[in-house]
């Protein structure tokens, strides 16, 4: 059993762009490593170098835990280094219009909350954060809402991922291991593991 994650609270950081790929989140040169430690400071490194106003460099967003993003966030490479770098930067929850699947799966494995909201609601949340970066956000997995001051919007998340976080059963390895006997029995029914005689 892992920690039960029923909600995430903190300030927000808006990055309402579409099709942000994992190469942009963490450029490939930072994958030359054998541990995920230290990746936090390189989140969006190349975008930050080219954009003096990048949110990840702005003092008012330092220490934020809720990232507001656009459509198809985390597309491209499967590198878990991407959510690892965001997590180590301080992000605990991402609210986006949609997520690429591998990225979403990686977030689930790491206990990062990744929920979907409509474009309109994301713009509302982004505007609220921009006008007052100290606004406290709460991403609530039980009510499936995100609140920011007076604003409250509905969000969505796959039931399986939500249940795992809320019940603290996102240590998937432990659960998979618990079915070892079933796995062995099942392997005996798969044709290519048994000389194609099954």
């Amino acid at each position: 059993m892992s920690t039960k994650i029923k909600s995430v609270s903190g300030t927000g950081i808006p990055l309402l762009l579409d099709d942000i790929d994992t190469d942009r989140i963490i450029p490939a040169r930072y994958l030359r490593c054998v541990t995920f430690e230290g990746l936090g400071e390189f989140a969006f490194e190349d975008d930050r170098q080219q954009d003096p106003n990048h949110p990840f460099d702005k003092a008012e967003y330092k220490g934020s835990s809720v990232l507001i993003a656009g459509r198809n966030f985390g597309c491209g490479s499967s590198r878990e280094h991407a959510p690892q770098s965001l997590m180590r930067w301080g992000i605990k929850a991402i609210v986006a219009e949609s997520f690429a699947e591998i990225f979403f799966g990686n977030c689930s494995s790491l206990g990062i909350v990744a929920v979907r909201a409509t474009r309109e609601d994301l713009q509302t949340l982004g505007a609220a954060i921009e006008s007052n970066p100290t606004t406290q956000l709460k991403v609530d997995l039980e009510s499936l809402t995100v609140t920011a001051g007076d604003i409250s919007v509905s969000v969505e998340m796959a039931d399986s991922a939500r249940d795992a976080l809320v019940t603290g059963e996102w240590d998937y390895l432990g659960q998979l291991l618990s079915a070892a006997d079933q796995v062995t029995a099942h392997a005996a029914t798969i044709p290519y593991l048994n000389g194609f005689t099954k």
Partner: protein, 472 residues
């Protein structure tokens, strides 16, 4: 009663160990491919928890991403790359996993090696800590890319949890025109359905266009499924699949091959198979296709102009504008004639022998433009060996291309092969993301290997159909 399940659902059901109350499936994984970038932290998790690799014989490793393609002497000049290489050697040795390393003769890009060795077979579930694992779907397998936590899970249990996706059949019928390749077909599909169009779906590619393709062409198509948002894409196994697998080192042999063939062919989606969605294209609508932007969907047919923002949906304009600005291109301009600095032929998309043969055919008797650096990186040591046996390397070298060792190379530039500054690269790879080819401001134009070869020679993007060596 006939089985109306499509191939995907047959294979999924076969590998379902159990279904959790939240509907997630614990799926048995038939083949786990490993490489040096996404595995060290996974092995560390096993070490921390005192776990072993559960099915070592279903697990195989090679090295590809960080491998230098010019000077491969050890230790590598890049000490971080050397550290990763040492880590996979130590981990595979300690955990008893077969490693096809640089000395092996079978090393290469994991998605080239799997099929080449006959490891990739119809009806399997295949995972790898790499998004282009979708390549293996060309054989009628469920093949998906996973993250490092998943790699640890599969190493330790040979299973992982997944939500069952929906299945969309993408039908393309008709003959491809001369100069139009598998790469153009998949770029066209992604252009039409978008980079997020496949999220939540597995893609079945069906129709006479795919039937007519070789296995290597099918791999090119399935490889880029992920660029259209689909974690998995596949093609039903047929006689070509069987023929390709016959006699490969890890293929079943003798009587077992016959039994395997019967089973493999039985998995194909029947004529009355059910799908959650279907999209139909005509091969005759597809022309040589080139990306101009920063996502693989931002492409045009070679004869078409770049989009004009005011004519695009309002919601798309920010991204299109960002792409035009990054690429230094103007709306409405033709992509044809765009000057290039670098040409890259290789990658898990287009680094196989048929790709090199076609590029060499274009390059033969020509010279790379004086301002262009052109490199050819075979997908594996065996592809390299075959190409050299056919003399392709001599054709490339005579034309001014550099002939390199096998690896991922400039597809993602984790090795010394990188763009510099704002260089523009005509590339046979799969991603044109900002900074993808190693320079944060470097620019990528994706296209078929033949188009890359022609661009290298002309120093600019040209229409392969007007290059004079297209065979009807």
């Amino acid at each position: 009663m006939s089985d109306r399940r499509n191939l995907f659902n047959k294979v999924w059901d076969l590998h379902t160990v159990r279904t959790l109350p939240n509907q997630q499936t614990q799926l048995f994984i038939g083949l786990h491919l490993i490489h040096e970038v996404t595995s060290p932290q996974a092995y560390e998790i096993l070490r921390d928890r005192g776990l072993k690799v559960a099915y070592r014989e279903r697990t195989i490793a090679t090295v590809d991403h960080i491998v230098p393609t010019a000077d491969q002497s050890r230790p590598f000049k890049d000490l971080l790359a050397e550290q990763m290489m040492s880590a996979i050697e130590k981990n595979c040795d300690e955990f008893g996993v077969t490693l096809l390393d640089l000395k092996d003769g079978r090393q290469g890009i994991v998605h080239v090696v799997g099929p080449e060795q006959g490891l990739t077979q119809p009806g399997m579930t295949i995972v790898c800590g790499d998004s282009h694992t979708s390549t293996h779907g060309a054989f009628g397998s469920i093949a998906i890319g996973i993250g490092t936590s998943n790699v640890a899970q599969v190493l330790a249990t040979q299973t992982m949890f997944l939500d069952r996706p929906k299945v969309r059949r993408i039908v393309v019928n008709g003959d491809l025109a001369p100069g139009v390749y598998a790469k153009d077909v998949i770029l066209h599909i992604i252009q039409k359905l978008g980079v997020q169009g496949g999220v939540g779906y597995a893609y079945e590619y069906a129709g006479s266009t795919f039937d007519a393709m070789s296995m290597e062409e099918r791999m090119t198509v399935c490889n880029m499924s992920i660029e259209g948002g689909a974690r998995c894409g596949y093609i039903n196994p047929d006689e070509k699949t069987v023929e390709y697998l016959c006699g490969r080192p890890y293929s079943p042999q003798g009587d077992e091959f016959e039994a395997a063939t019967e089973w493999w062919l039985s998995l194909a989606s029947g004529d009355d198979a059910e799908f959650d969605d279907e999209v139909v294209f005509n091969a005759s609508d597809i022309e040589p296709t080139v990306t101009w932007g920063i996502t693989p969907a931002q492409s045009v047919g070679i004869s078409q102009p770049l989009p004009i923002l005011s004519e695009c949906p309002v919601g798309e304009r920010v991204l299109l504008g960002e792409a035009l600005e990054f690429m230094g291109l103007a709306e409405g301009q033709p992509v044809m004639g765009t000057r290039i600095d670098v040409a890259f032929i290789g990658s898990c998309t287009n680094g196989r022998i048929s790709d090199l043969r076609e590029a060499a055919r274009i390059a033969a008797g020509h010279k790379v433009a004086p301002n262009v650096k052109a490199i050819v990186v075979p997908g594996s040591q065996l592809v390299r060996e075959q190409a050299m046996a056919e003399g392709l390397h001599k054709i490339f070298e005579a034309a001014g291309f550099e002939w390199r060792g096998a690896g991922c190379s400039m597809c993602l530039a984790m090795n010394p092969d990188k763009l510099q500054g704002r260089e523009v690269c005509a590339s046979s790879s799969n991603r044109n993301f900002k900074g993808r080819q190693g320079s944060p401001t470097g620019r990528t134009l994706l296209m078929s290997p033949a188009m890359v070869a022609a661009a290298a020679i002309e120093g600019k993007v040209v229409d392969i159909r007007e290059f004079g060596c297209v065979t009807a």
